[in-house]
Symmetry: C2
């Protein structure tokens, strides 16, 4: 496929795959897509190892990096906030609620210690340092979620000749992102896994394309709910430059997801992917479980804490939950959850990342043939 | 276009247009689409007049009828429930809340009298009688929203050789509808105006197609957010047999909408279309206004009453609101609302229904050409 986005990224098929797992990133890029590593949990040291590994396994194919620098966060403006210092801000009400919830399911909850200098979750300075390190690797894209990237990030992209992408959930955000100098817009519908807005992919994609057209020529990738090449063709029929995908890679053999979560994904329908503040403090779509129900509708719920505090609580809780579930606890299984979009309703098996890319290509071609056949008659 | 749905309905372009306005229905069918008259508010007497008018203005082109028979309603199982008898079930708390809200905006709220034998809103018996009358007109489709149609409706369709369609918002509903004998499924995403579920069109359409395929060959129309031929092509790329549309016709010169509401639609972005129980007692997408805010998040909100009681309250209130707004009250304007989907964000002018159909055809062709050009290079 010859298109501006394909030229920009050095690919032939504009299927971008977001994953926290380096194996998925390398496999997708090798298969002709474009892997994007989610670097949120990394430090400059750990990202160096990950990218080295990808370089060794990607056969010279292009890939990118995604960071999460929230434009709005409760610690905004504070300097040198560490994970440890934030733990003291979590009051007994929220700790007790979490402990009691896990106890009811026979899981022992205790905060898991972190190194003294561990940065806060979603720390902007740390993300910029991660990016700085990454430019010594052949990355072809940097992306940011949750608001306009800081100027330093856009400047870094310019300096290194690497395009900067930004996720948006509303037309108004897209306009601000384009004004800030972003090179690629990812219009992500409410059906997407992880942090998301309220507008659906079907509406958001044309609305964003229409809104930014008078400002500047910026390619728009469609995101949210895209699990097949037919849906990718659908989005490109609406004018999207390509597809940005996430959930579909969770059900690959390469992915980081647990056996329990994979089974739950296969059993789930689209309505089981709920938008909840229970994991990070901001609305994010994830698999409905006892955890999301308790925070969202439990009669005793203290309500989620703001980002980044809720992430600290849920990180500790899910370490315990996942461990218990892996050890075979059926009760812990009821709590297991992870970020996933409504597209989970289309997952019916676990495949290799390469097979998923091949299926996307084939389904895309079939969708175009199907439309051609319709108009020919 | 040659396809099973086109043969079934006697049309060439599978664009179905739901409208409460006979002018829109006739204009769309004349232009090569398929108009579907929303008959919810009609009695056997008034529907007879409407269909006679359509027959006189549709140039022999096919059209259909849509009723709203809720599978779940608070008056289920009761016989001979009249509008008047229900009014006594609305307590002072809800009446006072409504009166106070309108008073704050300088609108005088008083219940508008109805004839003694007026059936309750969404009365199933009345809907079946409306359908019975309609078969003396050349209708080519009957459709039901809000659950599995009663057996009597499906039997009527069979007897008269008219296909029966049903709207669904979840895969599970589609499976039940197909088992009940429905001929066409309308998979309506959460972005749609009016009563809607939580799953987006992008996910729901392929999920429903996949779920019902092993049961029986039933065409699936896509609904929710579709305002252009490009989106229609997108849905058909995913395997939909055609598009079921609603909101786009509200911004036509023929439609029943007020000048005030049209202006509000043009000014709105997709996020202004909210899912609220404030109008009918069931979640329905409508333009956000002081009305929806008051019921959904007002600190003194008594919460919406169940269907059909909330419809009685809101009907009386909106008669007063719309009258005051039409008379030029800027305060009343803040309350004006009506059912509309997230696609409202794509409305930027009012056109003739014929022009909208033409644009759909042109955009559809352009979308197919665009995809062809992409894969050719």
């Amino acid at each position: 496929m010859k298109s501006p986005i394909c030229e920009m990224l050095g690919i032939e098929f504009p299927l971008l795959a977001f994953s926290h797992c380096r194996d998925v990133v390398a496999a997708v890029s090798r298969a002709g897509g474009f892997g994007v590593l989610g670097a949120t949990i990394h430090t400059p040291e750990t990202i160096e190892q990950e990218l080295k590994w990808i370089d060794d396994h990607v056969d010279g194919k292009p890939y990118g990096l995604d960071v999460l620098i929230p434009e709005n966060i409760s610690t905004a403006g504070e300097k040198d906030v560490t994970w440890q210092s934030l733990e003291t801000r979590i009051g007994p009400e929220h700790r007790d609620f979490t402990r009691d919830l896990l106890k009811k399911y026979n899981i022992d909850f205790k905060p898991v210690p972190v190194p003294a200098n561990q940065p806060q979750p979603f720390d902007a300075q740390c993300a910029l340092e991660v990016l700085e390190v990454s430019f010594s690797h052949p990355i072809r894209l940097i992306a940011n979620a949750l608001g306009v990237p800081p100027k330093a990030m856009i400047d870094m992209g310019r300096k290194h000749g690497v395009p900067v992408a930004a996720l948006v959930g509303a037309k108004e955000h897209a306009i601000r992102q384009v004004a800030a100098g972003v090179d690629i817009i990812v219009a992500q519908g409410t059906e997407a896994g992880g942090h998301c807005g309220e507008v659906s992919t079907m509406v958001l994609v044309p609305e964003v394309i229409k809104a930014i057209k008078p400002i500047r020529e910026v390619p728009v990738l469609a995101a949210g709910g895209i699990m097949t090449g037919r849906q990718m063709a659908a989005c490109m029929a609406m004018g999207a430059a390509g597809a940005w995908t996430g959930s579909v890679w969770l059900a690959t053999v390469e992915s980081e997801t647990s056996e329990t979560f994979r089974e739950k994904m296969i059993a789930a329908s689209s309505r089981d992917a709920v938008r909840s503040k229970g994991r990070t403090g901001k609305p994010a779509r994830q698999l409905r479980s006892v955890w999301t129900d308790a925070w969202d509708r439990g009669p005793d719920s203290p309500g989620a804490l703001p980002m980044p505090l809720q992430s600290i609580i849920s990180r500790d809780a899910f370490i315990a939950i996942d461990r218990a579930a892996a050890a075979g606890s059926a009760q812990a299984r009821d709590l297991v959850s992870y970020f996933v979009g409504q597209g989970v309703g289309l997952i019916d098996s676990v495949k290799s990342a390469r097979a998923v890319v091949q299926e996307f290509k084939q389904d895309f071609a079939e969708a175009v043939e199907h439309l051609d056949a319709l108009v020919a008659t």
